[in-house]
C-alpha cells in the first residue's frame, strides 16, 4: 500500500481559496435566469486565463456555467460506461485513455466494430461543449461540477485547478522528507498552484508514502495488461524524479502538466478506492442485507471520484490535442511541411469546433428570454429593441462609410475579457451566417458592408505587421491615391499585389452594399407613398362596410378610425372585441346573455381569421400597384414578413390562432360562486388591465380546452366585493404552462389540502408560481381544488382539479366552480384570456356576469 492511512481514512480537508467564488457561481447557476445576481468585476489583477474566466463567469454566471456545460463535462466520461455496457469493450480494460490502438484490442466483435475514433471524438466534442468560451473556463466549470457532485474540498480545488498552469517561479531550496535537497517546505510568496502541486507530490511520492506495488496501483488506477504497466511505470518514474532530491528535476516535475494531471487523476482514484473500501467493509458486516442509504452514498461517491479522475484524463488529452493543433498550424504558416511535428487529427478539431458551437448555443438558450433559433434567424436576438436579455446581445451598430455614403451594419461588441469577446465574435459570425440576414441584405446591404469591414480589418492587421504607421483610413479616403503614392516605396512587390487586390475587393463590396441599401430606401419611400395614396383608400372602403353594423359603429368607431389612419391591425381587433362584449352586456333576455357571453371570445377569433384575407388582399394590392411581376415588389413583401414579422419563424403552411381579448373588469353575482366568505382586503376595487411581456408561441390555455364560463368577476357584487378573483365553471383542471420545466424548477406548486371560509370547509388550495421565459412570475391561487402534485412541475402537468360540490360541501360555495386569483394583478381575466403577445394565456372564457 502506498499509504495505509489513505485507504482507511477520509481525505484531509484543506482550505480552498477559490471555494467561495465557486460556491457563488454554483448557486447562481442553479437559479432561474431572472434571479441571477451578476457581479461586475471592474479590474482583474491576475492575468491568468482562469482569473479571466472567473471574472467572466461572475458577470454572466449562467452563460458559462449551466446545465449544458456541466452535463457535457460529465458526459465526456459517459462513453466509457456506455461502451462497456454495450459489451463492445472488455469490461476490465481501462478505457479512460481510449485511443486507436487500444480500441483495436478492445473491440471484441468485428461485426459490431464501432468507429474507432468515435470515443475520442465524442469526448473532445463534449469537453469543447463544456468549455465553449475557451479552455480557461474548464476550472470554473470543473470546480462547480465538483461542488455539485459532492466532492471534498481538496478535490474541488483539484478540479478548479484544471487547465491552470502555475506561474514560473524559482522555488526555495529546502529539505524533502528524505533528507535530500528539495522543496517540500511551502514558501509564503509561492504561487498557490505551485504550493498545491508540491503538496500533492509530497503526499504521493514523499518518503513517508509507501511505494505501491503494481497490484496495489492497479487496484486504485484500474486497467490491466500493458496499459496498467505503462501507467505504473509513469508512477515509478515520477516518484524517482521526486525522490532524487535534485531541485532541477523537482522543478521540472512541478511544471510538468502531464505529471500534474497524472497526480490529480491518481488522487481522485485514491478517493474512489477509499469510498469503495468503506462500502465493501459495510457490505461484509451486513452481508446481503438491503443496501442502506450510507452504503449508497459511499457507492455514489466512489463513482463521482472515478468520474472526476476520468474528466481530468479526458481534459488532458483534449488540451494535448489542442496544443498539437496550434503548434502544427503555427509551423504550417512558416514552412509548408513541418518536420518532427505530429500531424493533428483534423476530425478531432472538427469535433471540438462543433462542441464549442453547441455549448455556446445551448448555454445561451438556457438563459435567453425567448425562442432562440427563430429569433436568431429573424435577427430579433441581435436587436437591442426586441431582445430583452440585454447582456446577451453580442453586437452593436456600426457604420460602413465610403465618402458621404453610409450603410449601417452590426459588429461584435468588444470587451476587455477574452471570454466575453469569444462569445460576441462567435454569435456575430452566427448572425452573418443566417439566411434571413442575406435576405435582409437585399434591402439593406448589411451583409456586404460587414464583409467589406472584415476584409478591411484583416488587411489592416496584415499591413501593420510590416508598415508600422500604416493608416487604412487614409488609404480608403477620397485622397487614398496620394496616400498610396506616399507609402509606395515601403511596399514589397507582394504587398503591392495585396493592396491592389484589397482595393478591388473593397470597391466591389462597397458597390454591392450601397446598391442594395438603395433598394431598402426605395422600399421605405414607396410604402410611405402607398400608405397615403392607396392603402388609406382601401381601408376606408372596408371601414364603410364594417360601420354598417350598428354595434360596431357604437363601440368600435374609434378603433376603426385608428385603423384607417394608421393601419394598425391589432387596434381594430381589440375594438371589435369590445363591441361584441358590449352587445353581450346589452342583451336582456337570458338566452341573449348566454349566447352573447359564450360567443364573444369565439367571435373575436373568427373576426381575426375573417379579416386576415382582407389584410392579405391589402398586401397583395401592393404587389399589383407595383407591377405584380416586379421581383423587387416580391422582396419588399417577403423581406418584411420573413425578417421583421411577428411570425417570422412560422412555416408558411402553418396556421396560428390566437384567441381571447383583453376585457375590462365587470361585476355581477354568480350562479356558482362563493357563498360563505366575509369579503377581503384584496384590492382597490378597480380592475387595471393586464398587459405583460410576450409568452412563447407554444403556450396554451392553462384551463384546458373545455368551454368555460365566468360566473363572478373581480370586485363583483357578491363575495368578490373586495377580491380581484374570478369564479369559473367548466374548468375541471388547471395545468402547468408549457414553459414549465421541472428540471429548471421555474414552476413550483404548493398545496394546502384544507382551507376554510368563515362558514366552514372550502376544499383545498393550490398555489402555482410559474416563471415565464420573459422573467415574469405568474402566481395563480386556486381554491376549491384537490392538489395533484407539489414541488417543481413540468409543462402540461395537471396541478389542480376543481372539486365537485359534494366534496367541498356548501359552506363556502353554491356549486362546483374554480376560484382563481392571479396574485399581483387585478385583472385575472386579462391574464387568462389575453393574447400571448400581451403575456396572456389565450383562454376562451365567457364575459363575467
Amino acid at each position: 500500500m502506498a499509504d495505509e492511512n489513505k485507504a482507511t481514512t477520509t481525505p484531509k480537508q484543506e482550505t480552498n481559496p477559490t471555494e467561495p467564488i465557486i460556491e457563488f457561481i454554483s448557486e447562481e447557476s442553479k437559479k432561474s435566469p431572472v434571479e441571477v445576481k451578476p457581479v461586475k468585476v471592474e479590474r482583474v489583477e491576475d492575468t491568468t486565463a482562469f482569473a479571466k474566466a472567473v471574472a467572466a463567469a461572475l458577470k454572466n454566471p449562467q452563460l458559462f456555467v449551466n446545465d449544458t456545460t456541466l452535463k457535457a463535462l460529465e458526459e465526456a466520461v459517459g462513453l466509457e460506461y456506455i461502451l462497456k455496457k454495450a459489451g463492445e469493450i472488455d469490461p476490465n480494460l481501462d478505457t479512460s485513455k481510449v485511443d486507436t490502438e487500444q480500441l483495436k484490442e478492445a473491440i471484441k466483435s468485428p461485426g459490431k466494430t464501432a468507429d474507432k475514433q468515435a470515443p475520442k471524438l465524442e469526448s473532445q466534442r463534449k469537453i469543447a461543449k463544456a468549455t465553449w468560451a475557451g479552455n480557461g473556463t474548464i476550472g470554473v466549470v470543473g470546480g462547480v461540477w465538483a461542488k455539485q457532485a459532492g466532492l471534498d474540498e481538496q478535490s474541488q480545488q483539484v478540479m478548479t485547478d484544471l487547465g491552470q498552469a502555475p506561474q514560473t517561479q524559482t522555488m526555495p531550496s529546502t529539505q524533502t522528507t528524505n533528507g535530500k535537497q528539495g522543496n517540500m517546505q511551502v514558501h509564503a510568496d509561492l504561487d498557490p498552484r505551485i504550493e498545491r502541486n508540491l503538496k500533492t507530490l509530497e503526499e504521493n511520492f514523499g518518503e513517508k508514502t509507501k511505494e505501491m506495488t503494481l497490484k496495489e496501483f492497479q487496484q486504485r488506477f484500474g486497467g490491466k495488461g500493458n496499459i496498467a504497466r505503462e501507467n505504473y511505470n509513469k508512477y515509478k518514474s515520477y516518484m524517482n524524479q521526486y525522490r532524487s532530491g535534485d531541485l532541477g528535476q523537482i522543478e521540472d516535475l512541478v511544471y510538468d502538466r502531464n505529471a500534474k494531471f497524472f497526480m490529480q487523476s491518481l488522487e481522485m482514484r485514491n478517493r474512489a478506492y477509499i469510498a469503495d473500501q468503506k462500502e465493501a467493509m459495510r457490505h461484509s458486516i451486513r452481508g446481503d442485507a438491503p443496501e442502506t442509504p450510507l452504503r449508497r452514498t459511499e457507492k455514489r461517491m466512489g463513482d463521482q471520484y472515478r468520474k472526476a479522475a476520468t474528466i481530468i484524463e479526458e481534459y488532458q488529452q483534449y488540451e494535448q490535442a489542442e496544443d498539437e493543433y496550434q503548434q502544427y498550424e503555427q509551423a504550417m504558416q512558416k514552412i509548408p511541411q513541418p518536420k518532427g511535428l505530429k500531424r493533428p487529427n483534423r476530425m478531432q478539431k472538427f469535433a471540438r469546433d462543433i462542441g464549442r458551437m453547441e455549448g455556446m448555443y445551448e448555454s445561451v438558450q438556457n438563459i435567453y428570454d425567448g425562442d432562440l433559433l427563430p429569433d436568431i434567424v429573424s435577427g430579433k436576438f441581435f436587436d437591442s429593441k426586441r431582445n430583452k436579455t440585454k447582456f446577451l446581445i453580442p453586437t452593436e451598430m456600426s457604420k460602413f462609410q465610403r465618402g458621404k455614403d453610409t450603410v449601417e451594419f452590426k459588429i461584435a461588441k468588444e470587451s476587455d475579457n477574452e471570454f466575453e469577446n469569444n462569445y460576441y465574435e462567435k454569435m456575430t459570425k452566427l448572425y452573418y451566417s443566417s439566411p434571413a440576414l442575406w435576405v435582409k441584405t437585399i434591402m439593406s446591404g448589411e451583409g456586404f458592408a460587414h464583409t467589406a469591414y472584415s476584409a478591411e480589418k484583416a488587411f489592416d492587421a496584415k499591413m501593420k505587421k510590416t508598415i508600422l504607421n500604416f493608416d487604412i483610413k487614409q488609404l480608403l479616403s477620397n485622397d487614398g491615391e496620394s496616400y498610396l503614392k506616399k507609402i509606395q516605396n515601403m511596399l514589397t512587390e507582394d504587398q503591392v499585389d495585396l493592396v491592389e487586390d484589397f482595393l478591388k475587393r473593397d470597391k466591389r463590396l462597397k458597390n454591392l452594399a450601397f446598391q442594395f441599401n438603395g433598394f431598402g430606401r426605395a422600399r421605405d419611400e414607396f410604402f410611405k407613398q402607398y400608405n397615403e395614396k392607396v392603402g388609406k383608400k382601401i381601408r376606408n372602403a372596408i371601414s364603410t362596410l364594417l360601420l354598417q353594423s350598428s354595434a360596431l359603429k357604437k363601440f368600435s368607431s374609434e378603433a376603426i378610425s385608428a385603423w384607417v389612419n394608421t393601419g394598425a391591425f391589432s387596434s381594430l381587433i381589440d375594438g371589435i372585441g369590445k363591441a361584441i362584449n358590449g352587445v353581450a352586456s346589452m342583451a336582456t333576455s337570458p338566452l341573449g346573455t348566454s349566447v352573447g357571453k359564450n360567443l364573444s371570445s369565439l367571435a373575436v377569433d373568427l373576426s381575426a381569421k375573417l379579416l386576415k384575407p382582407i389584410s392579405s388582399i391589402n398586401l397583395k394590392s401592393v404587389g399589383i400597384v407595383m407591377g405584380v411581376a416586379s421581383i423587387i415588389g416580391f422582396f419588399v413583401m417577403s423581406t418584411n414578413i420573413i425578417v421583421n414579422g411577428q411570425y417570422s419563424y412560422v412555416v408558411p403552411t402553418e396556421i396560428l390562432t390566437c384567441s381571447g381579448t383583453k376585457v375590462s373588469g365587470s361585476s355581477g353575482h354568480g350562479t356558482s360562486g362563493e357563498s360563505g366568505g366575509s369579503g377581503g382586503s384584496g384590492g382597490s376595487g378597480v380592475v387595471e388591465p393586464f398587459v405583460g411581456d410576450p409568452l412563447p408561441s407554444d403556450v396554451q390555455c392553462i384551463l384546458g380546452t373545455n368551454a368555460i364560463r365566468c360566473t363572478q368577476g373581480p370586485f363583483g357584487n357578491f363575495s368578490h366585493a373586495k377580491v380581484p378573483a374570478v369564479d369559473l365553471v367548466g374548468a375541471d383542471y388547471v395545468y402547468a404552462p408549457q414553459f414549465c420545466d421541472a428540471a429548471k424548477g421555474n414552476c413550483v406548486v404548493s398545496y394546502t389540502p384544507s382551507v376554510n371560509c368563515t362558514a366552514g370547509y372550502a376544499g383545498g388550495m393550490v398555489i402555482l408560481k410559474a416563471t415565464a421565459p420573459n422573467g415574469h412570475t405568474y402566481t395563480f391561487k386556486m381554491i376549491h381544488v384537490a392538489g395533484n402534485v407539489t414541488g417543481a412541475v413540468g409543462a402540461g402537468v395537471a396541478v389542480a382539479r376543481t372539486m365537485e360540490w359534494s366534496e367541498t360541501g356548501n359552506a363556502c360555495s353554491s356549486g362546483k366552480h374554480l376560484h382563481l386569483e392571479v396574485v399581483g394583478t387585478t385583472d385575472p381575466m386579462g391574464v387568462l384570456t389575453g393574447v400571448l403577445s400581451n403575456g396572456g394565456f389565450g383562454c376562451s372564457i365567457s364575459q363575467c356576469q
Binding site: E674, S678, S681, G682, V723, T758, K781, A786
Partner: protein, 340 residues
C-alpha cells in the same frame, strides 16, 4: 446353578444394556428432532421476513416540510414489520361507464388517462384518474333501501357497481344544512390496515343520503395488490431524532375549524394574508399516534405504512397565537429501507 445365575445375570445385563442403548438412541433422536424443529422454525421465520432488496420509494409524502414536530408526549408507537402494497394501475373505467349508462348519463367531456365526465341536468359522474376516484352526484338520488347506513353499505355499493369485496370502517356522520347526511368511511386493506387520504376528514369514501336516496357518493377505486414484502418500522427513538429534518418524509394538514369564529372571521381564503397566516404554523406537539397507510395519488407505486400523528399547533395572527389542530403523516419505514 452358579452358571445359570451367571447366565441370567448376563442376560439381564444384556437386556439392560439394550434398554439403555434404546433410551440413548431415543433421547438423541429427540434432541436431533428438537434441534431440527428449532432450525426449521428459525429458517422458516427468516424466509418469511421478506425485506426489500432495494430501498422502496416513499412517494406519498413530501420532503420539504419545514415545520417542527415535538414527539415528547408520544411514548407508545407501533413497531415490528408491516407489509407494503402495490398500487395496481387497473382502472374501473368500464364499471364507471356502465354505472353512468345505468343512471342515464351521457359523457360530456374527457381527457384519456386523466378524467371522464358524464352529466345530465342536476346529475353527474366525475371519474378522476389522477387519484382514481369517482364522484357521483344525483339530484334525484339512487334509491337505497337500507334503513341504517353502516360499514356494509359501502361494501354492498362497491360490490354491486364495481364487483369488489372491500371492507370499510364508517367513522363519522355529518348533518348538512340542506337536510342531507354525509357518511364518511375509510377502506380497510386486507381487513386489517386502514387507508387514509388528504380528503377533508382523511376518508377514502363518503356517501350522502337524503332520506332513503343516495344523492352523492365518492369512492376510491384503486386496487391494492400484495407485494409480498414487509418493512421494519423506524424506532420511536430514531424517529425523534429524524422527524424534524426537512428532508424526512412528512405532510402536515392543518384543520382551521377551531379558529372559524376568531381568525377566520377576519382572514380567510378570500383575503391576501391567508397564505401568510398558514406560514405561521408553529409549536406542533403530537398528542397521539397510530399506524395507517397513506394514499395520495394513483401514480404512487406503493402504499407504505406511515405514522399518523394528531397535533396541537399554533398559528399567529396580529401577533397573537391561536391554537389549531393538525394531522401529520410521517414516514414509518426504517430509513435503511426507504428512499425518497
Amino acid at each position: 446353578m452358579e452358571d445359570s445365575d451367571a447366565q441370567y445375570l448376563n442376560a439381564n445385563n444384556k437386556t439392560m444394556n439394550t434398554t439403555k442403548k434404546l433410551i440413548t438412541i431415543i433421547t438423541a433422536g429427540a434432541i436431533v428432532l428438537i434441534i431440527a424443529a428449532v432450525l426449521f422454525i428459525l429458517l422458516n421465520k427468516k424466509d418469511k421476513t421478506t425485506y426489500p432488496t432495494e430501498p422502496i420509494i416513499q412517494e406519498s409524502l413530501s420532503t420539504t416540510t419545514t415545520e417542527k414536530i415535538n414527539l415528547n408526549n408520544i411514548n407508545d408507537m407501533a413497531d415490528g414489520d408491516y407489509p407494503v402494497w402495490r398500487v395496481s394501475q387497473t382502472t374501473k373505467l368500464t364499471n364507471v361507464k356502465e354505472l353512468a349508462s345505468t343512471l342515464g348519463l351521457k359523457m360530456t367531456s374527457s381527457v384519456d388517462g386523466q378524467y371522464y365526465s358524464w352529466g345530465e341536468e342536476g346529475s353527474s359522474i366525475f371519474y378522476d384518474l389522477t387519484k382514481n376516484s369517482v364522484v357521483i352526484e344525483m339530484d334525484e338520488g339512487i334509491p337505497w333501501s337500507e334503513v341504517t347506513i353502516k360499514n356494509t353499505t359501502f361494501s354492498r355499493f362497491i360490490k354491486k357497481y364495481f364487483n369488489e369485496d372491500w371492507n370499510y370502517s364508517l367513522f363519522k356522520t355529518g348533518q348538512n344544512n340542506d337536510g342531507t347526511t354525509t357518511y364518511y368511511a375509510k377502506r380497510y386493506i386486507n381487513n386489517e390496515y386502514i387507508i387514509e387520504t388528504e380528503n377533508q376528514l382523511q376518508e377514502t369514501d363518503y356517501i350522502i343520503m337524503n332520506g332513503e336516496k343516495m344523492v352523492a357518493a365518492k369512492f376510491l377505486l384503486t386496487i391494492f395488490t400484495e407485494e409480498n414484502i414487509t418493512v421494519p418500522l423506524i424506532s420511536s427513538a430514531e424517529l425523534k431524532s429524524y422527524i424534524n429534518l426537512e428532508t424526512y418524509p412528512k405532510d402536515i394538514i392543518v384543520k382551521y375549524d377551531s379558529v372559524e369564529n376568531t381568525v377566520l372571521s377576519k382572514v380567510n381564503y378570500l383575503t391576501e394574508d391567508f397564505t401568510t397566516i398558514i406560514d405561521t404554523l408553529d409549536s406542533c406537539t403530537a398528542s397521539s399516534s397510530e399506524l395507517v397507510y397513506f394514499y395520495k395519488t394513483f401514480s404512487q407505486e406503493l402504499l407504505t405504512p406511515v405514522f399518523k400523528l394528531n397535533l396541537d399547533c399554533t398559528i399567529t395572527y396580529n401577533n397573537e397565537p391561536y391554537y389549531v389542530t393538525a394531522i401529520a403523516y410521517v414516514n414509518a419505514v426504517d430509513p435503511d429501507y426507504v428512499s425518497n
